[in-house]
């Protein structure tokens, strides 16, 4: 844990691998949230919508 992180270096992009993993995981999670079916989707109505 006390050793420096490995860095990914591609052109002007320089980012640590742990940060890259977190950002990649967030993008994957966002994509899953868009695609994955939501339980009971479509059963709601327009209450509260404007």
């Amino acid at each position: 844990m006390d050793t420096p992180a490995t860095y990914f270096h591609w052109g002007f992009i320089l980012i640590s691998v742990p940060n890259l993993i977190v950002i990649g995981g967030m993008i994957v999670l966002f994509a899953i949230a868009l695609i994955a079916p939501f339980p009971h989707a479509g059963e709601g109505d327009d209450v509260g919508a404007k």
């Binding site: 949230a33 868009l34 989707a41 709601g44 209450v47 509260g48 919508a49 404007k50």
Partner: protein
Amino acid sequence: MSAPSSVGGSTPGKPESWTVRLRQGIDRHLPMDHLLPDRQPYYVGSWVYVFGVVTIAALFWVILSGVVLSFMGPQWWHDSHLGKFFNSLHFWSVQLFFIFMVLHLWGQYFMAGWRSGRAATWMIGVVIFGISILTAFTGYLSQQNFDGQFIALNAKDAMNGAGAGAFFNVLNFGQMYGLHMMLLPIGVTILVVAHIVMVRSRGVVKPIDPEGGAR
């Protein structure tokens, strides 16, 4: 002292009492069926809408673990097993808070969540994001270990370079700890409550119509 002619709201016309005006304003803009709804619009059936409430859940654990840490003190969170557990709980719930806040930000950005009179809601969210970053930075300075000292020494140059060194002395642990555990969390909490109330008063924004009809 004027007579309380409109107390209770029974007098027709504009009530003089500010409590009546406030009550009527709340009834008009934030009825209980908006504040605590049991039904949601059909388009809310997506996991994208869950990111906001998960952020609030993470904030709950951040505050709860922070209260325990502030009560017990630095020696406890560094030396005891239970203290280390709450230290880690505080750190990792902050990680989840930021991850889900950014996912919530992405979701609202791509669906243009500021439409139909929701600009103030969006801007308060931006301010919450900024204050949260300040809270996290002061948290790194409040660790009471060599890592915190190293960060403070380097942050000092950044603060001076930005011209803010006269207002914030990052080497002053008392100032940073006070900001981290009192003023900034209070600011975040108040703005989060305002953010939620504004979301509930107007409801969730409609999706963008692919035909270009929705605003």
